[in-house]
Symmetry: C2
Subunit: 363 residues, 2 copies
């Protein structure tokens, strides 16, 4: 578990978007740089499904963050100019309250008694951080992947904060192919007998289901083109599978195995299930009756939509549609199509492509 | 189980391409039309991973076949002109010997004692049918999906048969993305405790793993674009999941559920594992040291390569590469790129697109 540098707690109950309440949930976050005014230089970042709030290193936590090359002195999110806040999603397991957290009323983890999670609730977690930090405006809201949908939820529910928005490899709502992928990942986990209807213990989680889900995840986070260049039909003798007949002939299988090994134990299975379903359920059209109506409720002076041509999970046409939709309500909208080969994950790994674009936005 | 109309049996041992032997294995097949000469009008079809030899209805088996609209009097594979043979793959479970068949030596199913299966062995099954039917030539060899790779194996090993080849939504070898998909499907099955190291009984197969694998299969057999048009974000209340929290919100989930239900029990899990791995292992480059060398061993007078732009499993660029490669050794090569939205499965369901192309080939 990564240690978030900061937390806030809701002072009372949080009423969830789709019903139910949480008593005084905690939201973990990290910040970099120095706040000016009431938020004039504040950048808030909503993450994808699995990252923590540790987007960059800091004196308190010097380990590299998931966007280490993006945030810092002289970097695109320049901490000499900006006060950068990264929010750990409500429902996650890196400091914010989630299904793995202990419910103070029962002394037991919430597990499946956690109410249905929506990205609107995740956005509200971010808003509570903003409120308790005393901010009244936001310079720019940034969301990557699932976080891009959270950013839309945040901006549509809090137009009073104004500012700008950058959506990265995200969408106004998920397509059926992406829903199918995530639904199958969830099914892999709940069909693992170790899941035990959500009542597994932390030392005996549904590792088999989680590993399968992670492998399917990797297939949709990267791209066939990348793997063709990287692995081709390279053979490998995969030791851990040496006694099995149906695996481990190819380098790509070893790559997936290693990724599954690294992820195992990092993310709580129930938290994953809640956040994954929240990604499917989000629909900007719920805010006004259509995506266009949702967009008309935004109060942004500027937006940038960045997508990658090889993204399988949030295809480039969704980025184009979002940018075109935003033009109806936002004066200055830029659409950036990047031809990176690393698919959906490009924003995490193709820094040379993303840095100049983000730098230009803040120039 | 579907009943094949015909079977042949190898007279002795079949030595497998990657080692091991089978004693007098059976190959199931069906035929339509009337043979002329020594094969002057013979068309042989190699299938994808899961279909049986029942490609079209016949007096003996009037149920519709998997290519019913393609084979028959006046249809593209015109049974008034041609003698059409469809081969059930060795290793399958629709009449040909496979891991689910009883090993006469032991009185038990082969299960995992079945030797490693290669598409070269599947091709040899087809050749034995041809031989026992007394054919010395083939007019055209057709392969769809995995069957396209089997067709290449057949033609490269038996150039003496000559003739023509149609490759449909296939390739000279699998790409790492397709290997990753199939490897994960296999892992879903073997990680199901019911698989029991291959020793499940027919009344208690690893249904959970097979259903997961089938759902992932459907995702790669169709296309995101089709599902967007067909389902969008249509909601549904899926009865069988009514007591589960993480599924069944969307029509696309119901569609996958229904497909998984229909497939369950139809295909033996071990047979699936063997055929799936055989698809990964096939590489035309094994026949001569490179794909080009393999192609140079073919002795075809004409070839057609058909692919679909939305195919995720055998991308259109693989079809183009195969066609370009074939041009070095085959005088008359036509590459046909079809813009169907139904992805890899288009050759089974987009008959209006495929029929004219196949008709033109035989005109």
């Amino acid at each position: 578990m990564q240690i978030p540098s900061k937390t806030i707690q809701f002072s009372g109950e949080l009423t969830m978007h789709r019903g139910g309440t949480l008593v005084a949930p905690t939201i973990a976050f990290e910040t970099w740089g120095t706040l000016q005014g009431k938020g004039d230089n504040a950048i808030i970042i909503f993450t994808g499904l699995s990252p923590s709030a540790h987007a960059a290193s800091s004196p308190k936590n010097p380990s590299a963050g998931w966007w280490e090359d993006m945030i810092g002195s002289g970097l695109p999110l320049d901490t000499d100019r900006f006060f950068v806040i990264c929010i750990n999603s409500l429902g996650s397991c890196f400091g914010s309250t989630g299904p793995a957290s202990v419910n103070a009323d029962t002394g037991e983890p919430y597990r499946l008694t956690f109410p249905t999670l929506s990205l609107e609730d995740v956005a509200e977690g971010g808003f509570e951080v903003v409120r308790q930090l005393g901010l009244e405006r936001i310079h720019t809201t940034i969301g990557c992947s699932m976080g891009g949908m959270t950013a839309l939820a945040f901006c549509v529910r809090h137009p009073e904060l104004g500012g700008r928005m950058i959506s990265i490899s995200s969408a106004a709502r998920a397509l059926p192919f992406s829903i199918a992928i995530r639904s199958l990942q969830r099914e892999m986990i709940v069909k693992d007998p170790m899941w035990a209807n959500g009542n597994y213990t932390t030392d005996a989680p549904p590792v088999t289901g989680q590993r399968l889900a992670r492998k399917l995840g990797m297939m949709t986070y990267r791209s066939p083109r990348e793997w063709e260049q990287r692995f081709g039909r390279e053979r490998i003798s995969l030791e851990m599978h040496s006694d099995e007949m149906f695996f481990g002939d190819f380098a790509v299988e070893s790559y997936l195995e290693n990724h599954a090994n690294r992820f195992t134990g990092q993310f709580d299975a129930n938290c994953y299930l809640y956040l994954s379903r929240a990604s499917d359920l989000f629909d900007l059209a719920e805010h006004g009756g259509s995506v266009a109506a949702g967009i008309s409720r935004l109060s942004l002076e500027r937006a940038m939509v960045i997508g990658v041509t090889t993204d399988l999970l949030f295809p480039i046409r969704q980025q184009r549609e979002l940018a075109e939709g935003l033009r109806a309500a936002v004066a200055d909208v830029e659409f950036v199509e990047l031809d990176c080969i690393k698919g959906h994950d490009s924003f995490l790994v193709e820094m040379d492509a993303f840095r100049p674009v983000i730098s230009r936005f803040f120039a």
